[in-house]
């Protein structure tokens, strides 16, 4: 027993890091599962349907009022979906390039998870900072990882060795590169305002009340970032790599069972990561300008405040997630040339102008 | 009694005396006389003249191979003859052509008077109008009256699909009946004989069946009883309609009145796949059409071949098809020596046996039910092994019409291919003796139960090797060391030579059961295994090769035999 305590004491950082990784994954994976449910439910309501409402757990389902209610809510559907993706036949067509075919789903999923490492999802619990890795170049790390996410899609398209997946892969590579630039440029003014790349500092900057949230200072940046996030996560109206109606599902056409589920998880974790980034960069992170929730939780007796901060962060993420989902059922898909036009000829110039204007304003403000 | 089977079409002696007539306004020269049902020259009828002009006149009672009765009135047509002046000279039109007097009713000069085309001879200058409005009206009227008492039960009538009443109602009838009175219901399901069921309701009283059985089959068993609307066909009281040709009346019956008890309610005729084949019951070799659905044989029908059987065949041959698809027929190839159950394995063993057999130790008993091609290959095999060959004669009762006393379908084939040069069966005692004294060690039997023809079980048990091919199990097949299941002739293609020396080919109607294969196929493979590769790939090639090697078939080719066969020199 003592030796274990000793080990924890000696390698405190390592152990706490592992604990935080596990905690983040424990929240992230159910969130992925339930965002699928949310997607299905919201789309159902928008389309005058009821959505999943059949899966019942043996014991819970027979609890008088609650059981049927939860069942109608489809609350157990993600369990069934998950189980199904394990039990379904994992079909590998015999003409695929096997190595890439097996690697691609993992490559698509891993960057989405890795992005979460630098997100400060809370202030402090005890003396522990609520971020897995408090990097100085946090945002650059994020962009680096995000830029690797495209490999999963491109390789999936290449591995399948058939037309539609291939087209999907090609489209995704072009689309992701284009929107990464707009996305990167849109956040530069944020860091010009903050003066630091560390995401924790960005949140500190926004803790001075509602109007210190960067969204109010940089609405244009926020807008470009959000639209680019839609494109980066392959969500409608920019889901050209998948576009069921023309490419039959694009890069994941040939995938089935758990491999397909990995792509699905990748897409939704990407959405969650993007939402978390937007919350951190523009919406004040874990802060709330009321009830004294702006400041870091104190080390002594600040446990509830620390937990509240995490809750606030999650709530903001959920709001953004529902926007992601809602937009899917609101807007039709862009044409590919419109997509490229929007990225290169609208957003990049606007983002550049935004940088210059911000720089000028900052210069004038701080000019002696 | 003269029969149509012997009435070969002799070339008409030139020059043919012709008459010029007009059919539907088209000028036509037709011979003055035509052969009647017995082949005797008779004045050409209007129906025959129309047929020569390419126009079919509908008819029920008329049949080219039966005496003319002229009672159904279906073949009524309008016609005209050159008008004669009082001076017995033709009256001419203004343009100089002869004036035609259309035939009219005596007291109604506006109404055309038809003549029955089947029984009215033509005369010079006559004009026939088989397509005129008046003819059409006559046909409609006749059909309407025929349908007065006819039940509209085509859904349950076996004749549906090949019923003249159905066809003519569509082509020449009118859609509705004006008959409002109660229909006369004549007896149904009348048992005429062991093979025939009569439905009097459907009968149109054409009397084809009566004329056939009286004039062709020579068994005056049927007649018409009762009067007027109650006219019906019946067998004479106390008599069964049971002669050996009774089922031909089912084919003759233009409607569904006479039905075969064997085929009754078995299958609608439009489902049948029809294959041109032969009857293998006796040496006559009647041409048949075999009807099968989904590999199940359902009926044999005679196929007209005036050189052999005319349009008829005997009941015995017609019903002689059920054994082919019997449950217990041989369907597995087997070698009792090694237990091998594949063709390659068993054939290799057989080849080994034959290759190692010393000259003179092999005998073959080959059936005259095998095709010429198979006998040809078997004969080759016999030459290769130095074997003594024979076949088995099968004598029975014949009759004057079609049934031959020779019950083998291919006795002449046996002779012509050299399997048995002289009388069949005289080598059998020699073979038996050879087996008894141990000289013959290997016996090949194709298609015969030799235990019933002089090689009893105790003789067979002395053999070292007994190689048997057959269709049905018998004592010989039970004793076989190598059993090669063969095909009935209806399951393969080939040729037979009938008692009169006519070489006829037959086609495959159904697939053989299980492992069973056409004998010629595996005989070819066997010869190949014995180092005598044959260069035919199909039955056509085999036949052509046989024709080259066999003097009697010289100059023949499969593609030129035709459906009706050719005569060969016996």
């Amino acid at each position: 027993m003592d030796s274990i305590m000793d080990f924890i004491y000696l390698h405190r950082e390592l152990v706490m890091g592992l604990v935080k990784i596990c905690a983040v994954l424990a929240v992230l994976l159910p969130m992925v599962a339930y965002s699928v449910l949310a997607e299905r439910k919201i789309s159902a309501f928008i389309q005058d349907r009821v959505g999943p409402n059949r899966v019942a757990l043996p014991l819970l389902g027979s609890v008088p009022v609650l059981g049927p209610f939860l069942t109608r809510l489809g609350i157990w559907q993600p369990l069934a979906d998950g189980l199904k993706s394990f039990l379904k036949e994992d079909f590998t067509p015999n003409y695929v390039r096997k190595a890439y075919f097996w690697l691609a789903p993992a490559i698509a999923l891993i960057p989405a998870f890795m992005t979460m490492a630098v997100i400060p999802f809370g202030s402090y619990i005890g003396t522990e900072k609520m971020v897995i890795a408090d990097l100085n170049v946090g945002i650059l790390y994020t962009f680096g990882i995000v830029s690797l996410g495209v490999y999963g899609l491109v390789l999936a398209g290449y591995a399948a060795n058939s037309k539609y997946p291939f087209l999907g892969g090609i489209r995704s590579s072009a689309q992701m590169i284009s929107y990464e630039i707009a996305m990167g440029m849109s956040v530069i003014p944020v860091f010009m305002l903050v003066g630091d790349l560390n995401l924790g500092k960005v949140i500190q900057h926004q803790s001075g009340g509602l109007f210190s949230w960067i969204i109010f200072q940089q609405p244009v940046a926020f807008f470009i970032f959000m639209v680019a996030a839609f494109a980066e996560t392959n969500r409608l109206p920019f889901d050209l790599p998948e576009s069921e109606t023309e490419l039959v599902g694009g890069y994941h056409t040939e995938y089935s069972s758990m491999k397909f589920a990995l792509f699905f998880m990748g897409e939704y974790s990407n959405m969650i990561a993007s939402s978390a980034m937007m919350v951190t960069l523009f919406l004040g992170g874990w802060t709330l300008p009321w009830f004294g929730l702006n400041a870091n939780a104190p080390a002594e007796g600040g446990l509830w405040i620390g937990i509240a901060h995490i809750g606030i962060f999650l709530a903001k993420v959920l709001v953004l997630m529902s926007i992601f989902i809602w937009v899917r059922w609101m807007l039709p898909r862009f044409r590919y040339d419109q997509l490229m036009d929007l990225g290169w000829r609208r957003f990049i110039p606007i983002a550049l102008a935004n940088i210059v204007i911000t720089a000028v304003i900052l210069y004038l403000k701080h000019a002696p | 009694m003269s029969t149509p089977t012997t009435a070969e079409l002799k070339p008409a002696p030139p020059p043919v005396e012709t008459i010029r007539i007009k059919v539907d306004g088209r000028e036509l020269d037709v011979p003055k006389t035509m052969p009647d049902w017995q082949g005797k020259p008779q004045p050409t009828t209007m129906l025959q003249a129309c047929a020569m002009a390419g126009l079919e006149v509908p008819h029920y009672c008329y049949h080219p191979k039966l005496p003319i009765a002229g009672n159904c009135r279906m073949c009524l047509i309008e016609f005209g003859t050159p008008m004669m002046g009082p001076d017995r000279k033709p009256v001419l039109n203004e343009d100089g052509s002869p004036k035609i007097a259309r035939s009219v009713l005596p007291y109604e000069p506006d109404a055309a008077r038809g003549a029955i085309a089947c029984a009215t001879p033509i005369s010079p200058g006559m004009e026939l109008y088989p397509s005129s409005a008046a003819t059409k009206q006559m046909r409609e009227a006749v059909l309407e009256s025929l349908l007065i008492n006819h039940p509209l039960d085509c859904p349950i009538c076996d004749q549906a699909g090949e019923c003249k009443l159905q066809e003519y109602s569509v082509e020449h009838g009118q859609a509705t009946s004006r008959f409002v009175e109660t229909k006369v219901h004549k007896p149904k399901q009348v048992d005429l004989g062991p093979r025939i069921m009569l439905d009097d309701e459907r009968c149109v009283l054409c009397t084809r069946c009566i004329r056939f059985t009286r004039d062709v089959a020579g068994d005056d068993a049927l007649g018409i009883v009762n009067r007027g609307s109650y006219n019906s066909i019946a067998a004479y009281p106390g008599r069964q309609f049971d002669n050996n040709y009774s089922l031909n009346t089912v084919d003759l019956c233009p409607v569904g009145a006479l039905t075969s008890k064997d085929f009754r309610f078995q299958m609608r005729v439009w489902f049948l796949k029809e294959t041109k084949s032969l009857c293998a019951t006796c040496g006559t070799g009647c041409n048949i059409t075999a009807g099968a659905r989904e590999e199940k044989l359902l009926r044999f029908e005679p196929r007209q071949n005036d050189a052999v059987n005319g349009p008829w065949m005997c009941d015995h041959g017609r019903l002689n098809y059920k054994w082919v698809q019997r449950e217990d027929r041989l369907s597995t190839v087997i070698s009792t020596r090694t237990g091998s159950g594949t063709w390659t394995g068993v054939l290799a063993e057989v080849a080994e046996v034959l290759r190692n057999a010393p000259k003179g130790s092999v005998a073959m008993v080959l059936s005259a039910r095998q095709t010429n091609e198979e006998l040809y290959l078997l004969n080759k095999l016999a030459v290769l092994c130095g074997a003594i060959t024979d076949s088995i004669a099968r004598e029975g009762q014949g009759d004057a019409l079609l049934v031959s006393p020779d019950k083998n379908p291919n006795s002449n084939g046996v002779r012509l291919t050299g399997v048995a040069y002289t009388e069949m069966g005289i080598q059998i005692p020699k073979i038996a003796a050879g087996i008894r004294n141990g000289q013959i060690k290997t016996l090949v039997v194709f298609g015969e139960d030799v235990t019933r023809h002089g090689l009893e079980g105790d003789v067979l048990s002395r053999l070292d090797h007994l190689i048997v091919s057959d269709v049905l199990p018998n004592e010989t097949t039970q004793r076989a060391h190598f059993l090669l299941p063969g095909c009935a002739h209806i399951e393969k293609r080939g040729t037979f030579v009938n008692v009169k020396g006519r070489l006829q080919k037959f086609m495959k109607a159904v697939e053989p059961k299980g492992d069973a294969r056409p004998e010629w196929e595996f005989l070819g493979e066997l010869l190949q295994l014995l180092g005598r590769p044959e260069n035919f790939k199909s039955l056509e090639g085999l036949f052509n090769q046989m024709a080259k090697d066999t003097p009697a078939f010289a100059g023949l080719e499969w593609s030129r035999i035709g459906d009706l066969g050719v005569n060969v020199k016996l």
């Binding site: 005058d48 807007l331 | 085509c154 859904p155 078995q266 299958m267």
Partner: protein
């Protein structure tokens, strides 16, 4: 006179306003529509779908579902195994075994009934040709559209099943009854 080119009318695209170019009105109307539906479905229960096994669709008159055999009002199989439906069936789903020569005295005037009548519902395409071709009004496309089974052989419906599912047809045509009546009348007619 007029060549094709002259008949063309060129419609000019409407110029978009600045706001429209920013997709703002479109976004707004999209939001309105989706929100209206969301609200109505979630809180006002305006659901257009049906929850299938519990709620079932009312099949309209004239719907063409699975074909079944019917009996007449005197409990007789109407089918006379004429095999026209078997012949006309495009997917070859119907298979009839005719009765053969044996005469069943209990069938009265109807000589012929199917010994076996099978419809392979896995093959059947509900086209209705069998109903259309049937001269005896013995087979009808009925309202069943959801046929299920756990094996292929279970989905081949035999005569008993088809008759049980088909029920009784009360049509005006009673052919065999008519014939029997006529025959009775004829027997009773005694011309002096």
């Amino acid at each position: 006179m007029n060549n094709a080119r002259n008949n063309l009318t060129t419609v000019k695209r409407t110029e978009l306003t600045f706001l429209e170019k920013l997709y703002v009105p479109t976004l707004w109307s999209g939001l309105k529509v989706t929100f209206r539906h969301f609200w109505n479905t979630l809180f006002r229960g305006k659901v257009v779908t049906m929850e299938y096994p519990e709620q079932k669709w009312t099949v309209p008159e004239g719907y063409r579902g699975a074909p079944y055999l019917v009996k007449d009002t005197e409990d007789r199989t109407k089918c006379v195994s004429c095999q026209l439906c078997e012949f006309v069936c495009p997917p070859k789903a119907i298979r009839i075994t005719p009765p053969g020569p044996a005469v069943d005295p209990t069938t009265g005037n109807v000589e012929k009934r199917p010994k076996e009548f099978e419809i392979n519902m896995l093959r059947c395409i509900f086209c209705g040709f069998c109903q259309e071709v049937c001269p005896e009004e013995a087979i009808f496309l009925q309202k069943d559209y959801s046929l299920t089974g756990v094996s292929r052989s279970e989905m081949i419906y035999d005569k008993e099943k088809l008759l049980a599912l088909g029920g009784v047809h009360r049509g005006p045509i009673m052919k065999w009854k008519q014939k029997a009546d006529e025959a009775r009348k004829q027997d009773a007619f005694k011309p002096e």
